[in-house]
């Protein structure tokens, strides 16, 4: 028996949010929800885990900070120490004040770029990537739930209709 999946369209974010809560309550699996803009509370309603990307960003920032210190220590202190204006570069810590700007900039550089790269890779965003939203109107003004049909197809359908779905399409899984 082939499993059916439903593509249910809504035209309002509040109705969508109520519908998602209802569907989750009736224990029908939601594969994905496609929306044209961030609907606040949708991730909680779908019981998505919070994203860890800001923790990763903190680590990236630490990497940038460490990298800047190691780089400037090697270049200015170890490899070629110079006497600049009577201020010899023989100790990193004594020269540190003039290294602060670049320590800061590289921290931001690493944190920002590695975070965005992580986001693009995790969400599969890159040039030549084909879009995967099943209905083109979901980037305009419609909201689509990609869900299982549940054990009783007609019952699910009538439930969705009652919740305010504007169209329900059956697709093969």
């Amino acid at each position: 028996m082939s499993l059916k999946r439903l593509h249910v369209l809504f035209d309002d974010d509040d109705i969508l949010l109520d519908a998602v809560k209802e569907i989750v309550k009736s224990k029908i699996y939601i594969h994905e929800v496609y929306t044209p803009f961030p609907v606040h509370g949708l991730d909680k309603a779908m019981k998505l885990k919070p994203t860890n990307i800001s923790i990763a960003t903190f680590i990236y920032g630490c990497i940038g900070f460490t990298f800047s210190i190691l780089m400037m220590n090697y270049i200015m202190i170890v490899d070629w120490p110079q006497d600049i204006g009577g201020k010899p570069s023989f100790s990193y810590i004594e020269n540190m004040p003039s290294f602060v700007p670049i320590m800061f900039e590289l921290t931001v550089f690493f944190a920002a770029h590695l975070m965005v790269i992580t986001f693009y890779l995790r969400s599969k965003l890159w040039p030549f990537k084909e879009a995967e939203n099943p209905d083109p109107s979901t980037t305009d003004d419609k909201f689509l739930i990609d869900m299982d049909s549940g054990s009783n197809l007609s019952k699910t359908k009538s439930m969705l209709k009652k919740m305010g779905a504007i169209s329900i399409k059956e697709v093969n899984a």
Binding site: D14, E32, Y34, T35, P36, F37, P38, V39, H40, L42, D43, M46, L48, P50, T51, I53, S54, T57, M72, I75, M76, D79, W80, Q82, I84, K87, S89, N95, S98, F99, P101, I102, F104, E105, L106, V108, F109, A112, H113, M115, V116, F119, Y120, R122, S123, K124, L125, W126, P127, F128, E130, A131, E132, N133, P136, S137, T138, T139, D140, D141
Partner: protein, 460 residues
């Protein structure tokens, strides 16, 4: 609806009876319709100025920096003035998108996209000047700490000019990814409604296959917030570091501790003025009056007025500190600025930057489009003169009276400056016809709380 509550005292940010679909139509219209004759005229003028500037740059590179009006005493003049001016203009973009995002200012959403575009385009102009001034721009990569065989000749990390390299390149690239990440859902909107196959292909390519999954939006919002948190100190650091180019030297008039906050305030001041200039035209031409409302213009005018007052305070503090320090070189530098041969530049700077924004205290004027437009241009002229005054008047009277001189720009100096203005407008005009110029996905999130029609329903 209760989740979309907003105090009735707040004025609507989206005017008219708009639905989500209307927003898509309004934002996609400039992209989907061919430009009119006015656009072509503006584009041709900008392109001509750009080509003229390119010619002047080529002449500079072929002949040398001697083609500029620089001399032994005034070794820095229009090039660094233009550099600081353009970097300053580039500050409003990140301020609007990052700082106002952290403060949850919803009015940012109508203007942040164009402000960020302006940031990127003006930082590109700024970056041109130091690169041309190198004389041999093909060796520009020597600015980076690359392992080499010149006897391990490294860049000097004690130099503020090198800090600038890192600050400006971090600022440019981080602003670019911030802008592009926000653009993905809007490019996707244009992609999904495109009918011409070529257009569809292009917008598929640049939207990176954005599909709008719930998880993507969750990450998108987190990334925007964290990027805003990173970009806020970044934007402050960039102009701080630009001011270090002067403040760490020992030239009277440059060697002051007030420079970092003074430069940052000035940058926000001129940046907002440029956003104002551009958006007053764009809202009319692209028919975006529903999204860039009079309230947006008023808000920007208030920011211009406040930052203008901060800049005014800084000017007066500088004069006071010069007198109070008891250092006669410092005193002379400021006396010479105000009353010496460049008094007219000082007078222009004071009247454009300190006096003119004060009329924004009057509500009638700050909600008047013509006045706002005029003041925004006056402010940018004034901010150019501020940098000119700081740079040239501090240099032209140095410690040796025998080397005292004046600076006069050659047609090459003027041509390169005009060329960067042309280049800026070429980029901005192309942007206005091919990019979604308002962050439509973000506007849709505030439609129910701040849209005029929804507010009316709620107030009943």
């Amino acid at each position: 609806m209760s989740s979309h509550y907003e105090a009735p005292i707040r004025k609507p940010l989206v005017l008219g009876d708009k639905s989500y679909g209307d927003i898509s139509n309004d934002i996609a219209r400039p992209v989907e319709t061919p430009p009119n004759i006015d656009w072509w005229i503006a584009f041709s003028i900008a392109m001509a100025a750009f080509l003229w500037g390119l010619g002047c740059m080529a002449y500079t590179l072929g002949t040398g920096i001697g083609t500029w009006g620089l001399n032994k005493t005034v070794g820095w003049a229009w090039d660094i003035t233009n550099f600081v001016w353009w970097v300053g203009i580039g500050h409003a973009g990140t301020l609007i998108s990052a700082v106002l995002l952290l403060f949850r200012q919803k009015w940012r959403m109508g203007i942040n996209r164009s402000a960020e575009a302006m940031t990127i385009f003006s930082v590109i102009q700024a970056g041109l000047f130091p690169i041309i001034h190198m004389g041999r721009p093909w060796l520009a990569y020597w600015m980076f700490p690359i392992p080499n065989q010149f006897g391990s000749l490294w860049v000097n990390f004690n130099s503020p000019l090198l800090w600038d390299v890192f600050a400006i390149s971090t600022y440019l690239t981080v602003s670019l990814v911030f802008w592009w990440t926000g653009l993905l859902p809007d490019f996707a909107m244009i992609r999904d409604r495109a009918v011409k196959p070529f257009q569809k292909k292009i917008y598929s390519l640049i939207s990176f296959g954005w599909s709008g999954r719930a998880k993507d939006w969750q990450r998108f919002e987190e990334v925007s917030l964290v990027l805003a948190g990173l970009a806020t100190p970044l934007v402050l650091s960039v102009h701080t570091i630009v001011s270090f180019d002067f403040a760490t030297s020992v030239i009277p008039g440059w060697h002051t501790t007030i420079f970092p906050p003074y430069f940052v305030a000035g940058a926000i001041f001129s940046g907002f003025a440029m956003v104002q200039t551009l958006l007053i035209i764009m809202r009319k031409v692209s028919r975006l009056e529903s999204y860039i409302t009079l309230q947006h213009i008023e808000m920007m005018n208030i920011v211009i007025m406040i930052t203008g007052s901060i800049v005014g305070c800084a000017y007066i503090t500088e004069l006071f500190i010069a007198w109070y320090s008891g250092v006669e070189y410092e005193q002379y530098a400021f006396l010479n600025r105000a009353t010496g041969p460049y008094w007219w530049a000082y007078f222009l700077m004071m009247s454009c930057n300190v006096v003119s924004p004060q009329i924004m205290w009057i509500k009638k004027i700050r909600t008047n489009i013509i006045w706002s437009f005029v003041i925004s241009i006056v402010v940018n002229v004034g901010m150019w003169f501020e940098r000119f005054v700081i740079i040239v008047t501090s240099l032209h009277r140095d410690y040796l009276p025998s080397s005292w001189t004046m600076f006069s720009p050659t047609f090459i100096d003027i041509g390169i400056f005009i060329g960067t203005i042309g280049f800026f407008f070429v980029l901005f005009l192309l942007y206005a016809r091919s990019f979604p110029v308002v962050a439509q996905a973000e506007i849709k999130t505030i439609l129910k709380s701040s849209g005029e029609n929804y507010k009316k329903i709620r107030d009943k």
